[in-house]
Symmetry: C2
Subunit: 246 residues, 2 copies
């Protein structure tokens, strides 16, 4: 049995998230079905770096799988792309050591979030950015980004629904925001992310940009460990799992 | 009864074209349903500048309608956008003279066609551009564009299926191609277009760009009036009805 690491992109619009579920169209479900075809009916399980929610996209999601078929990496890519629907694309397949695990071997993950910040709706981008019509102050947002960077307990920025057992301490090595014309690009790089954490951070950064939250209050909000102090979670369609770093 | 001209954009991906059809999701069907709601069940017919096919988009399609409701233009826009699905967007509504007709008053139409010309697939653009992986010679394409410009019988560039009764002579005032990084943008402006004409021209221009057709042969192909001399019709998802000029 050879172990492989596979890097994929997908358009999350028409999926009920990554994780396989009965009767639902999921990314894992489509990929495992393609593997089953290649393995003549035998089920092959894939192990991803983590889930993504309904409507969330990926530029560089990763998973590992094992196979006894003697297929070169380039041919794995071709065979999978030939079988997969056109909203999932295999970018690359490489062989890995048996100790590799797509989730546990990951050192960092990078997420990006895109806001189209203008009054007029762009219907062609409705599934690919969050369209936000009100003016946002980039300097305030960047000051808040700076306060989010580093090692903190991110309880304030995790879903109230989530019942995490372990620590909620995570280290974000990069939190930053760029403006390219009317697009705001948020970059989040860190060693781990809690459930809905990126979208809750973006929701808070929007409130900072509008002047509802003062950027200097971010450290106090972190210390309070209370999700209820923040407003809305930003919608899924602006979020991209950008890459997984090993 | 006041007559209005309405300008809309739509993402053609999830529609069976513009024209209303039973049991199918169409742009006309969705808009007439919104009007029926506004008019408390009374049917209101809309008259467009022309149809678009399944998968074809519009940045500036136009239609006219009549109503006895005393609603200011800005409120028409808001009311329609509130009722329409998120893949149709009303850009603007203005009052027009009773002699105005969205189709017959049009002087020219502009279409644009987008090719993503690179090896790697971009799954996020699969419904919005034609992804073409082979190198295309822009100088050849531009020479061919020049030959398509002007007044010609465009029988060679019309669908063999179409049974047009009248003349197939049309005047194209602009045919041109720009490259922005890996995107090729084709612009076609003219006083009328035959069925599939833009997509057949793009198919021919691709064959010119690959070297399958010499640009100097375009005048002879036009004169031959024979669709069978050309190759494939370019796919719908790269095509946008850009604007209608009155």
């Amino acid at each position: 049995m050879q172990k492989y690491k596979c890097t994929i992109s997908y358009d999350g619009t028409n999926f009920s998230g990554f994780q396989i579920q009965p009767e639902k169209r999921t990314i894992q479900g489509e990929i495992e079905e393609a593997f089953q075809t290649i393995h003549k009916g035998e089920h092959v399980r894939i192990y991803s770096s983590g889930r993504t929610d309904t409507g969330v996209h990926a530029m560089g999601q990763t998973f590992h799988f094992k196979s006894s078929l003697m297929i070169p990496c380039q041919n794995w890519k071709q065979a999978l792309n030939a079988l997969l629907p056109d909203d999932i694309h295999v970018q690359n397949v490489i062989t890995v050591d048996d100790s590799f695990h797509a989730r546990f071997s990951a050192v960092e993950k990078e997420y990006r979030y895109y806001i189209l910040n203008r009054k007029d709706v762009d219907i062609f981008k409705r599934n690919y950015v969050y369209q936000y019509p009100y003016a946002l102050n980039l300097s305030y947002i960047r000051e808040a980004c700076f306060h989010l960077q580093g090692t903190h307990d991110f309880t304030t920025f995790s879903s109230a629904k989530a019942t995490v057992k372990g620590s909620r301490i995570r280290t974000l090595s990069k939190v930053w925001c760029h403006r390219h014309r009317d697009i705001l690009e948020f970059i989040f790089k860190g060693n781990g992310f809690l459930y809905h954490m990126v979208r809750i951070m973006v929701g808070a950064l929007i409130d900072v940009g509008r002047g509802k939250i003062h950027p200097a209050d971010i450290p106090y909000l972190i210390k309070a460990k209370d999700r209820r102090l923040l407003g809305q979670t930003a919608p899924p369609q602006g979020l991209y799992l950008w890459r997984v770093i090993y």
